[in-house]
């Protein structure tokens, strides 16, 4: 009946851009899938640099007698490791790479709505990465201000890289933000306006919901980083005093005076906390889809999951000062931010319950993507629970600036999202390349990464409890302060970190080896329902879908539907085309 009420809606298809030369097809490409791969490769390349930096730092901490790097270099490495991992790897990978590849395919579009802008977005990102990388080779080297770049020390003499490193870092961040805004506009508007017929917002897979919400967050949070970066550039280059108080350096009064370093911290963390969720929300979305597919069961509480993502996104803007408890603030402020921080645990816990309830009585296939998902759930839970410790002012104050904090944020926004990224790569590699990743290497990669991560970060919680401070390049004669086990644990952690690092080398080899020599993947190898697997070709070609765009008839979670012969019904299959199992007259209705 309803079909007669609602007129057939016909939207004209927007003409697709077609490249005219090899350069515009392969290099300056406007195809979102290739842009995604460009984003991915660039992010992994610079991320690998950050990984290698961490090896140097770990060797230095465990074996200070080797003096593998100086204290200045240590600070520079710690800064670059942090900033690269958070912004240039994780943000770029989740939004730039997964966003570009998955959004058009999953919502049933031929491409992003503004392909040219999308291309410019990638090249701007590349410039940002290069500007940052160049700082390794400038006089004084990269900045060693710590990834939070707190003034006044960030731009003062005595901090490594204060000559040019800090300027390049700030400029690079500004370029990154401009580039991201171009990409972000594309992701948001493609999702809002360019879905295929039948793809209501509530039929979109959670991957798209996660990326969408994270992009909105990023569009509104990155300006805060932009503001702080521009103002600090003014302080550094034009000698203004936005953030710089009156200072004496080497016995001389500097021209600065009256500025507020706390103002910088507020601006930075107004960006910094949503940034955690810019990384986490796409991971939540992807892991929900992966769990559902590999457990052959619809996601538990889909609507709840959507609203939890949106709720977490909104709450993430009112918790930022929990990063600043030790900076000093009105006690009522502390109370407010501790409360909001604890409230955010509610929708987050809800998501964890729903993942577990999806697994319950599911047909769990322990495929490599599923292993990574299970690894994610426990790791995120671990990291989340230590977050509750640190969210409380009275517990945070003694633990602040210790290894407990390092362990917490590496678990919750380092290892957990990376496990999702790796799982997602094992899951979508057949779609992107048409080949399967090597199973044996994959399982080795998972177990060493997963177990190794715990061997690295569990002991760090203990180090934090006994008061070992973060950011120290060596512990020195600390017998009086900590037990000697702290030094032994540092050696242990370093060995675990190197093992995990080695496993990543195996993974990188696997990716390149399998792309060339891997087993050819059958079509839709995981029997998934979402649209990206329903393209006529695998890997999908330019334009994604054939002559006609798919029409969507259901949500993305029709797994193990009673009455259907197969244990999955793709989104573009109407009810009348579903093959019924023996004994059923229609879906969910047994013959009488």
């Amino acid at each position: 009946m309803s079909e007669s009420i609602i007129p057939e809606s016909e939207l004209e298809e927007v003409e697709l851009y077609h490249a005219k030369s090899w350069w515009t097809e392969k290099v300056f490409t406007q195809d979102a899938k290739l842009i995604a791969i460009q984003y991915g490769l660039t992010a992994f390349a610079i991320g690998f640099v950050a990984l290698v930096l961490s090896w140097f730092m770990r060797i230095q901490i465990a074996f200070p007698e080797l003096s593998i790097i100086s204290e200045g270099t240590y600070y520079q490495f710690i800064t670059m490791h942090g900033m690269i991992m958070v912004v240039y790897l994780l943000t770029a990978l989740f939004l730039g790479a997964f966003g570009n590849y998955m959004i058009p395919l999953m919502v049933g579009a031929r491409d992003m709505v503004f392909p040219y802008l999308n291309m410019v977005s990638y090249w701007t990102y590349l410039v940002a990465v290069l500007v940052l990388f160049v700082s390794f080779f400038t006089p004084g080297g990269p900045t060693g201000a710590g990834w939070t770049l707190y003034p006044p020390q960030a731009i003062l003499g005595g901090t490594p890289g204060q000559e040019s490193g800090i300027i390049l870092m700030l400029v690079s961040l500004c370029i990154f933000i401009v580039g991201f805004t171009m990409g972000g506009l594309n992701y948001v508007i493609t999702i809002l306006q360019a879905r295929t017929r039948g793809m209501t917002l509530m039929r979109m897979p959670l991957t798209v919901w996660g990326i969408f919400t994270a992009t909105v967050l990023a569009l509104f949070a990155f300006p805060a980083l932009f503001v702080s970066a521009v103002m600090m550039l003014f302080d550094k280059i034009l000698l203004t005093s936005f953030f710089m108080p009156a200072l004496v350096e080497f016995g001389e009064n500097l021209t600065y005076g009256g500025g507020s370093p706390i103002l910088f911290q507020h601006l930075f963390w107004f960006f910094g906390h949503p940034e955690v969720y810019i990384v986490a929300l796409p991971a939540f979305g992807i892991v929900s889809d992966l769990i559902s597919i590999h457990a052959r069961k619809n996601i538990f509480g889909f609507r709840m999951m959507v609203w939890a993502i949106v709720g977490i996104g909104a709450l993430s803007f009112i918790v930022w000062a929990h990063h600043m408890y030790v900076s000093g603030m009105n006690p009522y402020f502390g109370f407010f931010f501790a409360t909001t921080t604890l409230i955010i645990a509610v929708p987050t816990a809800l998501k964890v319950y729903n993942w577990i309830l999806t697994l319950w009585k599911g047909n769990i296939n322990l495929t490599i993507p599923m292993l990574f998902c299970l690894g994610f759930i426990v790791t995120f839970l671990n990291g989340g629970l230590t977050g509750l410790f640190l969210g409380n002012v009275i517990v945070d104050v003694p633990l602040s600036d210790t290894y407990f904090v390092v362990a917490h944020f590496h678990m919750v926004m380092g290892i957990a999202p990376v496990l999702v990224i790796l799982g997602a790569i094992y899951h979508w590699f057949p779609l992107i390349t048409g080949k399967m990743l090597h199973e044996g290497m994959g399982r080795f990669h998972f177990w060493v990464t997963f177990v190794g991560s715990y061997l690295i970060y569990f002991p760090m919680h203990y180090l934090g409890f006994i008061g070992v401070p973060r950011r120290y390049y060596e512990m020195g004669q600390t017998e009086a302060l900590y037990t000697s086990s702290a030094a032994d644990l540092n050696v242990f952690i370093t060995l675990a970190a190197l093992a995990v690092g080695f496993a990543q080398l195996v993974f990188i080899f696997n990716v390149f080896w399998s792309a060339k020599r891997g087993i050819i993947a059958e079509k839709n190898p995981w029997n998934a329902t979402s649209l990206e697997w329903q393209t006529p070709e695998q890997p999908p070609i330019h334009g994604n879908f054939g002559k006609e765009l798919p029409v969507v008839y259901r949500w993305a979670y029709d797994y193990s539907v009673p009455g259907a012969e197969d244990d999955y019904i793709p989104q573009d299959v109407p009810n009348e085309d579903v093959k019924l199992a023996d004994g059923y007259s229609e879906l969910g209705v047994e013959k009488t």
């Binding site: 049933g108 809002l192 209501t200 503001v227 507020s260």
Partner: protein
Amino acid sequence: MADQAAIDNNHIGQAVSMPLSRVALYVLMAVIGVLFSLFSVAYIGRMAYGDWRTLPEPTLLWLNTAIIMLSSISFHQATKNAKENQIKRSREYLLLSGVLTFGFIVGQLFVWRELVSFGYFASTNPSYAFFYLLTALHILHLAGGLIAWTVVTIKSFIPQKETSDFALKVNLCAVYWHFLLIVWALLFIMLLLT
């Protein structure tokens, strides 16, 4: 349930019934709005410290404000004429808007020169620094708009059968100009009050 599914199957996949470029502009304006708001929050936050001095706003700023208002009005006229298919008149107003915008930018640079000649450098006091920073950022956003203005103005010289796309483009420019006028007005009020 089945009825809802039938309704959903017919959903055209758009959240709002609007051209893509208009949605993009609205989202972009929201982002720019957040950017200027955050600068304003930083401005107000920094004001609380003892070394803050009030900036004496040069009178020229009032003239510049009048110019950017005129440019916005002119854009409005350009849109109106474009919608009525009066391409030639629309073009005249477009050119006028561009000239006025250039006038505004040059006017702001004159204000800078005046301030510098009085010895009000960015490093002298944070309120001066904020003035340079905020006006520069506003000029940059206008300059970005001028790129779109150039494209649309060139388009107005090319004869075309279908003018609705042209009218849309002129309208989007006008909306952006009105938005930057509001941003400037709010900034100016903030500067005057502090």
